[in-house]
Amino acid sequence: MSFSPTRLRALLRKEFIQMRRDRVTFAMMLGVPIMQLLLFGYAINSDPRDMPTALVAPVQDRFSRSIAAALENSGYYRITHPAAGIAEAERLITRGEVSFVVTVPADFGRRMQQGDRPQILVEADGSDPSATSGAIAALARLAEGAFRRDLPAEPASGTPEIVTHRRYNPEGITQYNIVPGLLGVILQMTMVMMTAMALTREIERGTMENLLAMPATPAEIMIGKITPFLTVGAVQVLVILGAAWAIFDVPFVGSLGLLLAGVMVFVLALVLLGYLISTAARTQMQAMQIAIFVFLPSVLLSGFMFPFRGMPGWAQAIGEVLPVTHLLRLVRAVMLKGAGFADVVPQFAALSVMVAVLGALALLRFRRTLD
């Protein structure tokens, strides 16, 4: 048979009509590129600035104030806790509320005036090396130039020496950050996608009509659907953690029980998210597409791929409502920093709220009839 433009036109027309009818695919085709463009263009900044910093300066004098000013002028540091105690600073960095703790010793001013080389200690949260590397590199320049200019030029003034200390990950090994992050991202990918098809599979195979005709309540159907996936999730967690420990030598300083508890709340949130998608999607294909749609921001805006603090406010706001963002904080805090339950209460709270909201939405969305 020879090539027929008429046939081709008929085929093209049919394909375009079908594409237009499939609203979700159409929206994805337009939505995903726009979203990626916005994310890559504006949200992602691998050299974040204005990072929260606690200043531990037992003696608040013109020296400590000058140091604070110099740090802020560099653009990388924002002193959020200008007069922190040592214990408070320790807690802040464990919880991830600050990325840096700058300690100015009590005798700093005196030794400067004696023309000595007093030390300033800058402790960086090394659990996400890429987030802090820019700020640490800037310290060298500060020591040479900015400090000197900012510190009052007096006779016999000394030169401060800056000692940096990358906490939790002294060598700046990126796997320490990536591997725990992968735990969240891999779970997000598989859990949401699998559960998203739970109901649509029933609809596509025609079994939904029968299921609805029989006496099962929406809550029973939901729990019945998500429980097997919770089990699969638990197995995945053990495999990933085992691999992190055996293959990547990621240090594990915190409580395994606390970590597992947190991860399981996260997995519960994921399967409920998947189930919610399942109540909205009409076909398995649609469910898959929506799952990917949710997956993208989870990778890009959660602090997994790019430093969370490097993102603009709106992107951080989106990140805050993603379960994986809170999981990453929890895993880094527990695995790498040895945080206790009290330190990760906010993450547990956030994930629990998500579980409640997603579960309630899924039950509300569930259609008891075929209307």
Partner: protein, 302 residues
């Protein structure tokens, strides 16, 4: 339950996206009766059945199913109704026994119910076979088993025998009649005339409206049609000409004979005379009646 009304609904109306699929349908089915539900494709049979078993909420209309309010007591209705969907709707990746065990669990039946049902419907020998690998007849038997296991008082069957061989169909109908004798009420939709004739009463629906209901004899008599049979050496050509003749409704070939149906006997005989043939009266078939009803409904729609 025999004697009391199993289904008594009126004014049932349902539209999807502005298109009225079921329009003001009233349906009464007595307890223990096998009621046939007939009508062309897309006439609203499935939608009606779904409203009766609580899977769809009617836009308008009211009534009772097994004495329960069709709009407000959908949950209770579902417990006492067995619904066999048009498309096979059990799990193809589960075995016969696993499917039945699942259904038994949802209805809170003991394990023994599964064994009894397997035995009752002759499924025991195949119980470990996956539902997806069953032939049409066996799938249908599994579906029937699953819908009657919980001893429903009302059985709704949506084209249960589509694509099933005559032997399996007969067994299926024997099973249905046995259940009806036991007091179960059955509403069954079908396209097969022989199946319609196995029903106690039939209800004919076209374009979302209930057109006629009654026993088969009543429906045929009510149509007031006359059918004559004509022998012809060249039935095809004769049929062509007769279809254009005045007073002739339907012309259906039956081998070398033609069944000519119309509303007026005199005009029908005149039409045959003009062709130089004579007809002998035969009983009008249910199919002729339905085709006539369909044409009438079409005219009404225009």
């Amino acid at each position: 339950m025999t004697g009391a009304t199993a289904i008594d609904v009126s004014g049932l109306t349902k539209s999807f996206g502005g298109r009225t699929v079921v329009d003001d349908v009233a349906l009464r089915v007595a307890g223990g009766e096998i009621a046939g539900f007939l009508g062309p494709n897309g006439s609203g049979k499935t939608t009606c059945i779904r409203m009766i078993c609580g899977l769809l909420t009617p836009d308008a209309g009211s009534g009772t199913v097994l004495g329960l309010d069709v709009r407000r007591q959908q949950r209770q209705i579902r417990r006492q109704v067995g619904y066999m969907t048009q498309k096979f709707s059990f799990y193809e990746d589960l075995s016969i026994e696993e499917n039945l065990a699942f259904v038994a669990g949802l209805y809170g039946l003991p394990r023994q119910a599964v064994r009894d049902t397997l035995e009752d419907l002759g499924l025991t020998s195949r119980k470990t076979q996956l539902a997806g690998s069953l032939s049409g007849g066996w799938k249908q038997r599994l579906a029937l088993a699953a819908c009657i296991m919980h001893q429903p008082r009302l059985l709704l069957l949506d084209e249960p025998t589509a694509g099933v061989d005559p032997m399996a169909r007969r067994q299926f109908w024997d099973e249905i009649h046995a259940r009806a004798l036991g007091g179960m009420t059955v509403l069954v939709s079908t396209h097969y005339m022989d199946e319609a004739e196995r029903c106690h009463r039939i209800n004919y629906i076209a374009y979302g409206r209930l057109v006629v209901s009654g026993t088969v004899a009543e429906v045929i008599a009510g149509a007031r049609l006359v059918t004559l049979t004509v022998q012809s050496a060249r039935p095809g050509e004769l049929a062509e000409r007769l279809r254009k003749a005045p007073g002739v409704g339907q012309v259906e070939p039956f081998g070398t004979a033609l069944h000519v149906t119309g509303t007026d006997r005199t005009r029908l005989e005149a039409a045959l005379e003009a062709e130089g043939v004579t007809g002998h009266p035969v009983e009008t078939s249910l199919e002729d009646v339905f085709i006539r009803l369909m044409e009438l409904s079409e005219d009404n729609m225009r």
